[in-house]
Symmetry: C2
Subunit: 330 residues, 2 copies
């Protein structure tokens, strides 16, 4: 029997979230809707210009792990924080959600990663991430038992930004596949895809990655096309299974020649889109690792994504298992 | 001309906010609705039992200062943090709101104060405060120019918990009164009143405090009576002006024989009552220091309090000046 449903691997980041208006993004050269990588100096500058904020544990794959646990799934996480107050917060929150998290924290500098997230009135989030301690994640952080014991390993494309995390991913994938498990990834961000297009395609085509999560901008970036259908038909051939989100249009799941369109849930007001893709993956993977149909997997993803965008912060405050039961999905 | 409208003095605390159910409070011996003081060991224990949380700058008088600035008032703050990540967050948030905050941070231990706030399904908050660096606030932190230059000084009764903050208050009040200014306080918490009843009464009766903010539980505790009207008639004699909040019943302002009843604003859903009293004081003091009628002062207080309880966290995300304009109060 498997020890975990999903092992998630990602940058362990505390989000610092504030509202801003559209001109602020332009004036500060922040690419809207994207993950902008920043160094310590720019982090200080942007923070000095940021309005009053709140803090919440985040990080793409960390959010997914928290979401899976909230659905009642068994989740584990690999990620690197430092031994500081933000690191304590990160440890607390993910463990309090029921996720197994045992990666050894850094003893000193650099500090725990933070992402300054500016939310515009339309609810779109623009992230500015200082990677901090995340740059130290490496193959020595791979816990073999968890890699072998999880039905699916899930990692974020963002891990190609720090220098050695990709080695951890390749090692984890070896353990997972040797144990007959599956490996999945999210393409993370259209600009991230642009930075690592060939490597991401190689991960898929070489079979290191079985399942791909992406949004429409990311697959269009991956295949350098403006046409969604073209990109969708290309990704069919490059991985076993792909789930592609399309904001209010819902999502599309493709597996070989099979195509499963999924609706978004009705949303009262988009407050903050942070975590939407992460929570879609959480719902999908919870369904997938508990043997549900692709339709159910997609609906669970839509539910979790739809809930998280109606609140501030990247991890839903609701118990997702209860929410799924309310609408008859579990 | 005055340099500031209001100088606020209080414990500089970062809130760690999570939801819990009613049995959790009982099992962990947390007094519901109160500020429970805890030491470092109990802080660690409670944190280990707390669910996933979010962090936000808080502290009673700090919230009031932020509220005044959000109304467009000129606010200053005295409070002690440490030179750590939570201290950086505290500095950032209050300054980003436009509050003048220059108290020198501690170089080392103890760390910045935090309050673990458990919010029950009814929206009530139960606070568990580790005072940390706040215990080091003392008369050496009084900035004479700000004390003399603010129309009203406002401090929290909670400052009687750390050892030397009361000396800072007495010194500030001397400077303020010598410059012809007024001094106000909040009674903070019914249990805090119980701890320092005689000292609080002495502050009022000796004229160190001119204006008192309290809720109905606090004035009943102050005068050891179960009857609200009795307590209200006693506080009339003990200070020049008092504003007493009564949750959904609104508030009552008394000045000598004058009595001004104030309505609460309609509230859609009580999400988290944290900051309600602090924001009432913010609205009131903004009105008061800009020469408005007691009715207007109370209505501004009701507005700010009513807004903050409809969100998570102790400082409203809205711009309070804009909100007040929308309803014709400014």
């Amino acid at each position: 029997m498997s020890q975990y449903d999903v092992l998630c691997i990602g940058n362990a980041i505390v989000d610092i979230i504030a509202q801003c208006n559209e001109p602020f993004l332009v004036e500060n050269k922040i690419i809207k809707g994207a993950m902008n990588l920043i160094d310590a100096e720019r982090a200080e500058l942007l923070y000095s210009r940021m309005g009053p904020a709140i803090e919440a544990s985040g990080g793409s794959a960390g959010n997914t792990a928290a979401g899976i646990a909230s659905f009642g799934g068994r989740a584990a996480f690999f990620g690197k924080v430092s031994s500081d107050q933000l690191g304590d917060i990160y440890y607390h929150d993910i463990r309090a959600q029921g996720v197994a998290f045992d990666t050894k924290p850094l003893a000193g500098e650099p500090p725990t990663a933070r992402s300054m997230i500016f939310v515009t009135p339309d609810g779109e989030r623009s992230m500015n991430t200082y990677l901090g301690a995340c740059v130290e994640l490496g193959p020595e952080d791979v816990e073999e038992e968890k890699a072998q014991g999880a039905k699916v390993t899930y990692f974020e494309g963002y891990l190609w930004d720090p220098p050695r995390a990709k080695e951890a991913i390749r090692l984890t994938a070896q353990h997972a596949h040797a144990a007959g498990r599956e490996v999945s990834m999210t393409l993370s961000d259209a600009f991230c895809v642009d930075r690592y297009r060939d490597e991401f395609l190689d991960l898929m085509r070489s079979g290191i990655v079985d399942i791909v999560f992406a949004n429409s901008r990311e697959i269009k970036s991956l295949y350098r096309t403006e046409d969604f259908e073209t990109a969708l038909n290309l990704i069919r051939r490059d991985c076993k299974l792909a789930a592609v989100t399309r904001s209010e249009k819902g999502s599309v799941i493709v597996r070989g020649d099979e195509t499963v369109p999924i609706k978004a849930i009705p949303v009262h007001e988009i407050v903050d889109t942070t975590g939407a893709g992460d929570l879609y993956a959480a719902g999908f993977l919870h369904g997938y690792t508990t043997g549900r149909s692709l339709q159910d997997c997609g609906d669970l993803g839509s539910l979790a994504a739809g809930l998280v965008i109606q609140q501030i912060g990247p991890r839903p405050r609701q118990n997702l298992k209860e929410e799924a039961r309310k609408v008859g999905l579990l």
